[in-house]
């Protein structure tokens, strides 16, 4: 049965690649005038996240260069330095930990007439999680360049390990071994000029996962009336999700912009989610740009999520990941951008220095704070936390 499924998967994949190549080829043949490649630029960013017992920071570098006519290539380097004493870690008695995630990505866009084909590869490496992803995309302008349609496909292969301490040193658990996950993403996008002051974009994305989707460390709590304790989570081996996002930007008469973004999401684990964002961009003088945005997010919990299970094996699948619980969050963010060297300097056409600050508030409906002991299990107050996120980055165009 498994072999048959694999054969089908291989056939479907080959079929998809053939159709994608055919579709891309037809697009290139049928189109005429130019689309636009991304600008040559380099960005160096420092990011910092502080909240909920997590301190994550690190650099990100994004460099893009092309010939200005037919291709543009990029390289992205990104690091998360994680220091975690989150509620997941603390409430199960585990030790706070420090780890590093390093991500490298490369890709290229190829322009032909009104179409752009793209291909890219991303590698993410942690001591207990290694992920490789390839992605393909094609977009084309049509209807007098009022409309841009895009198609995308990506495939990821993840390897999951479990770290254990042996003699005070963290090593991969040989008993746990290596677990794998296969991830595929299918996306369709439409960008549409609505009026001379308004543009919209719609994106639909289906993501399928197959394999080991658990966190190997996280445990659920159970209380069977006298007997209570913890046991490891157990997730389904597949997950399929659909998301539809809509974005609008509107140009105001005095040179400023409003934006609105909405997304609806559902998956076969029972999670439904909606998010909304409004924002305002206000240039001041020749050099300053100010951004303000407010985002709301809410989701329902997965079918197999419980804060407290009634027995050690109440359900076939069991989770107590707060990202799978019912919760809502809000984010308020500001951005300040200062443009410099606007007349050019050395090889630089222009540059900008930027600060972005976001404040997050998460409020959980059915995830309880086990750090606060109560006489009866499951009556602890619900958990909430806030986080501050800072980005400092410099961009240059050349």
């Amino acid at each position: 049965m498994v072999k048959a499924v694999r054969v089908v998967v291989v056939v479907v994949t080959r079929s998809f690649i053939r159709s994608a190549v055919l579709g891309c080829g037809l697009l290139l043949v049928l189109t005429g005038q130019a689309a636009v490649l991304p600008e040559d630029r380099a960005d160096v960013l420092y990011h910092s996240y502080d909240g909920g017992g997590m301190d994550i920071n690190g650099p990100s570098v994004l460099v893009r260069k092309g010939d200005g006519k037919t291709y543009s290539a990029y390289y992205n380097y990104y690091v998360d330095n994680v220091s975690s004493a989150s509620i997941d870690v603390v409430s199960t008695g585990a030790s706070p930990y420090v780890e590093e995630r390093v991500e490298n990505g490369i890709g290229v866009e190829y322009l032909n007439g009104k179409s752009i084909m793209s291909v890219g590869y991303t590698s993410s490496v942690e001591n207990d999680y290694v992920a490789d992803t390839v992605h393909f995309g094609v977009s084309t302008d049509m209807f007098g360049d009022l409309t841009t349609v895009s198609l995308g496909f990506s495939r990821g292969s993840d390897s999951v390990y479990k770290m254990v301490k042996v003699g005070g040193v963290k090593v991969r658990d040989t008993a746990f071994g290596e677990k794998n996950t296969d991830r595929r993403t299918y996306s369709v996008g439409l960008t549409q000029i609505l009026t001379k002051n308004m543009i919209m974009a719609a994106n639909f994305e289906t993501i399928t996962d197959e394999g080991f989707l658990n966190n190997p460390y996280r445990q659920v709590r159970y209380d069977s009336g006298g007997t209570n304790g913890y046991t490891f989570e157990n997730y389904p081996a597949t997950r399929t999700s659909n998301a539809l996002g809509l974005k609008f930007r509107y140009f105001l008469p005095y040179r400023a912009a409003l934006h609105f973004y909405a997304r609806t999401f559902a998956d076969d684990w029972g999670i439904t989610a909606n998010s909304y964002e409004v924002g305002y961009t206000h240039p001041m003088g020749d050099s300053w740009i100010f951004d303000l945005r407010y985002r709301l997010y809410g989701q329902t919990s997965a079918d197999f999520y419980r804060d407290l299970f009634s027995s050690v094996a109440e359900l076939n699948y069991q989770a107590r990941d707060k990202e799978l619980s019912t919760f809502s969050s809000s984010t308020i963010g500001i951005g300040i951008s200062y443009e410099f060297a606007k007349s050019g300097w050395w090889f630089i056409e222009k540059g900008s220095a930027n600060l972005v600050f976001d404040h997050f508030q998460f409020d959980y409906d059915n995830f309880r704070d086990y750090r606060i002991a109560t006489p009866v299990l499951g009556e602890e107050p619900t958990y909430s936390f806030s986080a501050n996120v800072l980005q400092l980055f410099v961009s240059i165009w050349y």
């Binding site: 990104y78 994305e205 140009f251 400023a256 998010s275 989701q299 976001d358």
Partner: protein, 72 residues
């Protein structure tokens, strides 16, 4: 998959349609302003997306491809 192939085929034929643009190229100065870009700072937007995906059950629909990580 058949539906996806059909969608590909339909999309490939759309550029051949002759529809008159209701916003002429010379009327797009405001739309070409950098403040109207959906992705004015790609490095920052990629980070934002990563921060949200690591803490929310929802994923996708933003219109950009991403890689996998064990963020959850």
């Amino acid at each position: 998959m058949k539906r996806f192939l059909l969608l590909c085929l339909v999309l490939t034929q759309l550029p051949a349609c002759s529809i008159q643009p209701w916003v002429q190229p010379y009327e797009r100065a405001n739309l070409a302003d950098p403040i109207m870009s959906f992705g004015r700072n790609p490095v920052s937007e990629a980070y934002h997306k990563h921060v949200f995906e690591a803490r929310e059950g929802a994923r996708g629909g933003e219109g950009s491809q991403g890689g996998g990580c064990g963020c959850n």
